[in-house]
C-alpha cells in the first residue's frame, strides 16, 4: 500500500486547525500554543511535501501520486494527482505557509487562535486546488479558498478592511459563478468531470469560445488582469502582512494555474482564436501595472501593482505556446511568489515598526536599518530580474519564448505578434524604473523615518528572509533541475493547446531539442494562428 501523500499534505493543516480549535487555557497560553502549533503544522506539511519532489518521476508525463475515491456520485470523484506543472505550486504553497505564519507571530495579537485556524484552512484549500483532478473538486477548493481569505482581510485587516474584503469576495465570485455554468455545461456534454477525460474530449468549436469566456471571467479576475484588477490593490493594502504574502504568493497563482491547467488546454481552438487579444491584454497588464506602480505613494500598493505587471509576463509566456516561454511562465510564477511574498513581508516589517506605509515618510533606511536594506535590495533586484536571481530566469525565458514564437510569424507576414512581444520589453525598462526609484527613495538619501529609533531585523525575521533569498538565488543559479521536472508537463500543455489533437494545419515546423519520442511536437503558430485557421 502506498501512502496517500497528497491527501496527507492537503488535510494535515486541517488537523492542525482542529487541534488549535481544541486549545484551552488562559489567553496568553492559547495565543502562544496556537502560534507554535500552526508553525509546526505548516513545517511538517512542508517536509512531507518534500516527498512529492523526491518521489516525482520526471520521465512520466502522466499525473503522479494519484488518488481516486468515490465522492459526490456519478463521475464526480475525489480525484487527486500532480504533474510537473502543479507540483511547483504545491511546493510553493507549503513553503510559503510557514513563512506567513512566522511573519504573523507578533504582528497579530488579537484573536490569534482564530487567525491561525483561518490560515491553516486556507492552506488546505489552496493545496487542494493545485492537486485536484476533478473539475468539481477543483471548483470546491478554488471557491472555498475565498472564505478564509475574506475573513483574514475582514477581521485582521486595516482601516477599510470590510470594504476591501467584500470587494475581494464579490469580484472573484462573479467570475466563478460563470465558470460553474461552464463546468455544468461541460459535464453534460462530456459526461464526465474528470479533468484527464475532459482534456481529451475535444469540445465543439462553436461551444469553445463561450466556455472559454466563462473560465476567463473567473481566472482573469483572480489573476488579476487588466481591466478587472481593481480589487487587488485594495485587498493587498488592507490585508495583514501574512495575508498579502499568501495573496501574492499563492492565491494569484490560482488564476494563472487555472489558465494553464484548464482554460487553455480544454479549449484550444478558442485559445488560438483569442490569442491575439489575450497577448494584448497581457502586455497592457505589464505596462499598466508598471506605470501605476510608478506613481504610488503607498509602499504596499507599489508591490501590489508590480504583481499585476509580473503576472502579465506569465500570461505572455503561456500564450506564446513556445516550450521555453511556457517553462519561463512557470518559473516566473514561482519566482513572483517568492519575491513579491518577500517584499510584502519586508513592507510589513517596516510597518510594524513605524505604522505607516506612506513612502514620503521614509528615507535613507540603509543607514537606519542596514541588514533590512540589504535584504530589501536583493529582493528588489530579483523583482527587476537581475541575472542570477529567479526573476531573471522567468522573465528572460518568457520574452525569449514570445519572440521565438512571434518571429516565424513575422517572416510570414503577421507582424502583430511581434509588436506585442516587442511592447512587452517596455516592461523590462519600466520594471527597474519603478523598483529602483522606489528603493532609492526608500533606502537612500537623507535618513528619516516616522518612528525613531528603529530596531533592525531580529533573528526570526532574518531567518524568514534568508530562506526566501536562498530560494531566489537557487532558482536563478540552478534552474535546470526544476526546469527538467516541468518539461514534460509543459510539452503536454503545448501539444494540447497547439492544436495537434484537432489536426489543424500547422504553419511552421520546428524541431524542439531532445523531445522525447511520442511527443514529437509540431507547435502551431501561436498568437496569430487565428488568422490562418
Amino acid at each position: 500500500m502506498t501512502w496517500p501523500i497528497l491527501s496527507i499534505v492537503i488535510f494535515l493543516p486541517l488537523v492542525g486547525a482542529a487541534f488549535i480549535l481544541a486549545l484551552r487555557g488562559d489567553d496568553e497560553a492559547i495565543r502562544n500554543n496556537a502560534r507554535w502549533t500552526a508553525l509546526w503544522t505548516t513545517l511538517l506539511t512542508f517536509f512531507i511535501s518534500i516527498f512529492l519532489i523526491t518521489g516525482f518521476d520526471r520521465g512520466i508525463p502522466d499525473f503522479q501520486f494519484v488518488e481516486n475515491h468515490y465522492w459526490l456520485g456519478g463521475t464526480i470523484r475525489y480525484h487527486l494527482g500532480v504533474d510537473g506543472i502543479s507540483l511547483p505550486f504545491v511546493i510553493l504553497t507549503t513553503a510559503l505557509m510557514p513563512v506567513a505564519i512566522l511573519a504573523s507571530f507578533l504582528a497579530v495579537s488579537h484573536r490569534v487562535k482564530e487567525y491561525m485556524i483561518a490560515f491553516l484552512v486556507l492552506e488546505t484549500l489552496m493545496i487542494g486546488t493545485f492537486a485536484a483532478l476533478d473539475i468539481v473538486l477543483f471548483y470546491v477548493f478554488f471557491e472555498g479558498g475565498l472564505i478564509p481569505m475574506f475573513l483574514i482581510i475582514g477581521i485582521w485587516g486595516g482601516k477599510r478592511r470590510v470594504y476591501a474584503s467584500f470587494k475581494f469576495f464579490l469580484y472573484t465570485l462573479l467570475g466563478s459563478v460563470l465558470m460553474l455554468l461552464a463546468i455544468l455545461a461541460m459535464y453534460l456534454h462530456a459526461g464526465s468531470t474528470d479533468i484527464t477525460v475532459l482534456l481529451t474530449h475535444g469540445f465543439p468549436r462553436d461551444w469553445q469560445p463561450w466556455l472559454f469566456l466563462a473560465f476567463l471571467a473567473s481566472f482573469a479576475v483572480k489573476l488579476p488582469m487588466w481591466p478587472v484588477h481593481t480589487w487587488l490593490p485594495d485587498a493587498h493594502v488592507e490585508a495583514p502582512t501574512a495575508g498579502s504574502v499568501i495573496l501574492a504568493g499563492v492565491l494569484l497563482k490560482m488564476g494563472t494555474y487555472g489558465f494553464m491547467k484548464l482554460a487553455f488546454p480544454l479549449f484550444p481552438d478558442a485559445t488560438r482564436l483569442l490569442a491575439p487579444i489575450f497577448g494584448t491584454l497581457a502586455v497592457v497588464s505589464i505596462i499598466y501595472g508598471a506605470c501605476l506602480a510608478l506613481v504610488q505613494t503607498d509602499i504596499k500598493k507599489i508591490i501590489a501593482y508590480s504583481s499585476i505587471s509580473h503576472l502579465g509576463y506569465v500570461m505572455l509566456g503561456l500564450i506564446s505556446l513556445d516550450l521555453l516561454g511556457i517553462q519561463g511562465a512557470v518559473m516566473q510564477m514561482v519566482s513572483h511568489g517568492l519575491v513579491a511574498g518577500g517584499l510584502f513581508l519586508m513592507v510589513g516589517m517596516v510597518y510594524e515598526r513605524c505604522h505607516t506605509r506612506d513612502l514620503a515618510a521614509y528615507g535613507g533606511l540603509a543607514k537606519l536599518l542596514p541588514v533590512y536594506s540589504v535584504f530589501f535590495m536583493v529582493l528588489t533586484l530579483a523583482a527587476i530580474g537581475l541575472p542570477t536571481t529567479s526573476g531573471f530566469t522567468g522573465e528572460f525565458l518568457v520574452l525569449l519564448g514570445a519572440f521565438r514564437a512571434a518571429w516565424p510569424q513575422y517572416v510570414q507576414g503577421a507582424a502583430y505578434p511581434l509588436i506585442v512581444s516587442a511592447s512587452a520589453v517596455a516592461g523590462v525598462v519600466l520594471g527597474p524604473l519603478y523598483m529602483l526609484w522606489f528603493a532609492q527613495r526608500f533606502l537612500f538619501g537623507p535618513a528619516k523615518a516616522p518612528h525613531l529609533p528603529l530596531v533592525d531585523l531580529n533573528l526570526r525575521e532574518k531567518t524568514i528572509l534568508a530562506a526566501i533569498v536562498v530560494a531566489v538565488f537557487a532558482l536563478g543559479l540552478f534552474p535546470e533541475e526544476p526546469m527538467r521536472k516541468t518539461e514534460l508537463a509543459a510539452r503536454q500543455y503545448q501539444v494540447l493547446v497547439a492544436g495537434l489533437r484537432t489536426g489543424l494545419p500547422v504553419a511552421t515546423l520546428r524541431q524542439l531539442p531532445s523531445s522525447p519520442p511520442g511527443s514529437q511536437t509540431r507547435p502551431a503558430t501561436p498568437l496569430a494562428s487565428a488568422t490562418t485557421p
Binding site: L72, G73, I147, F166, Y187
Partner: protein
Amino acid sequence: MSWIDSAIAMLPEHLLLAGIVILIAVDIAAPLRKQVSLLVSLLAVGFAAAAAVWLSSNGFAFAAFAGHYSVDPATLLAKAIVLALAVPVLLISRDDVGQGAFPVLLLSSLYGVCLLLSADSFLTLFLGLELMSLPVYALVLLAFRRPQSAEAALKYLVLGGTATATLLMGVSLLYGSSGSLALSTFASALGSPDTMANVAVVLVLVGFFLKAAIVPFHAWAPDAYEVAAVPVTAYMATIIKAGVLLAAVRLFGTAPVTRPMADLLAILPLVSIVWGNLAAMRQQSFRRMIAYSSIAHAGYLFYALLGEGPGRFQAVAFYVLVYGLMNLLAFAALPQNPDDTARDRMDNLKGLFHRDPFAALMIGIAMLSLAGIPPFPGFVAKFLIFKNVIAAGFTLYAVLGLVGSYLGIYFYLRVIQYLFMSAEEPTAIQGSPGRLALGASLICLLAAILLAVFPGWVIDLL
C-alpha cells in the same frame, strides 16, 4: 394481511397521532410540565422518523388506501427528512414556547405533511395541505409577543385560504376535464393542448406558489416570519417549505415540462430568486431577512421541477434537507432574549464573534452554506438543481438563476460582516443559547459536515 400492511404503511403517522393523543389526554388530566411535553413530542417525532427510515431501507411499498394514499421507499425517505428536521425545531422551542398547545399543534401539522407526501389523489393532497397549514396559523399567534402578531397571522390566514381556494378551483377544473381526482391527472394535463386543463394546471401551480411564497404571492411570508416565535419561524421556513416542495415533486411525477408551461414555472421562481435576494439586502430584522432568503430558495426549489423527471426528487430532497438544516442551525445559534423584538434586530449580531465565538461560527457556516459557497453542502444542493435544469435544456434560465443567486451573496456576507468584522454593539443583548438549543445546533452541524464530506452516499440514498 393487508390491514397489517396498511397499519405499517402509516406507522410514522400513527406514531405522531399517538404522541398527539398522549399530549392532549395527559394535559387534560394534569397540566404537564414543559419538559415532559417536550420529551413526549420529541419521542413521537423521533420514533416516527426512525420508523420512516426503517421502512424505507426495507424497500417497503404499499397502497394503504388504493388511489388515495400509498407509500414507497422514496416517499418514506421524504417523510424521514421532514420528521428529522422537526427534531431540532422541537429542541429550540423549549425557551420560546411555553404553552402546552405548541407541541400538539406542531405534531398535527407534521401529520399533515406526512399525509401530503403520500397523497395519490387531490382529496388526500387537500387534506394534508390543510392539516399542515391550519395549526401553523395558530402557531403564529401562539407566542403573542408583538401587536403585529395578529395582523401577520390574519394575513397569513387569508392568503393561505386564497391558496387553498385557488388550488381547489384548479382541482375542480382538472376533475371536469378528466373525470378523475387522481394526482396523475395533473401530470397528464401538463402537456395537454386542452385550454381547460392548462388553466387548471396554472391554478394548481399558483396555489403551490402561494404556499411556498413565490413572488408575487410572497407578501405574507416576511410578516409572518418576523412576528412568529423563533421555533415557529424555523418550522415555517424549513418544514412547511419542504413539505410543499416535496408534494409538488409528487404532483409533477416524472412528466416532462414543456413550453409554455415551463416558462411559467421558470419565470416566477426566477423573479423570486432575484427579488428575494435583493429585498433581503435591506432588512434590519434577522427573521425578515431569512424570510426573503426563503423566498429566493423557494425559487431555486421550483427550478428543480424544470429539470428532467428522474432527477427531480433527488435534487429537491437533498436541497430541502440541506436548506432546512442550515436554517435551523442559524436559528438554534441565535442569542436568547426575552425581548423578542430586540432579539430579532440584525444589530444584535454585531460582534457576536467576540461574545460567543461558537454561535458566530454556526451562524456564519449557515449563511455561507445558504449562499451556496463550497465546500459547504449548500453548494452541492444548488449544483444538483442547476445540473438538472441545464440537462433539460433550459440553459438560459439556468444562467439567469445562477446570476440571481450571485445577488444573494451580498446579504449573507453582510451577516458574516456583522458577526465577525464589526465592533461589539453596546446595546446588544447578552444571552447565550440554552443547552437544548446547543444540542440542536450540534446535530445540524454534524449533519452538515456529513453532507459536505460524503455527499455521494446521501445522494445515492435518495
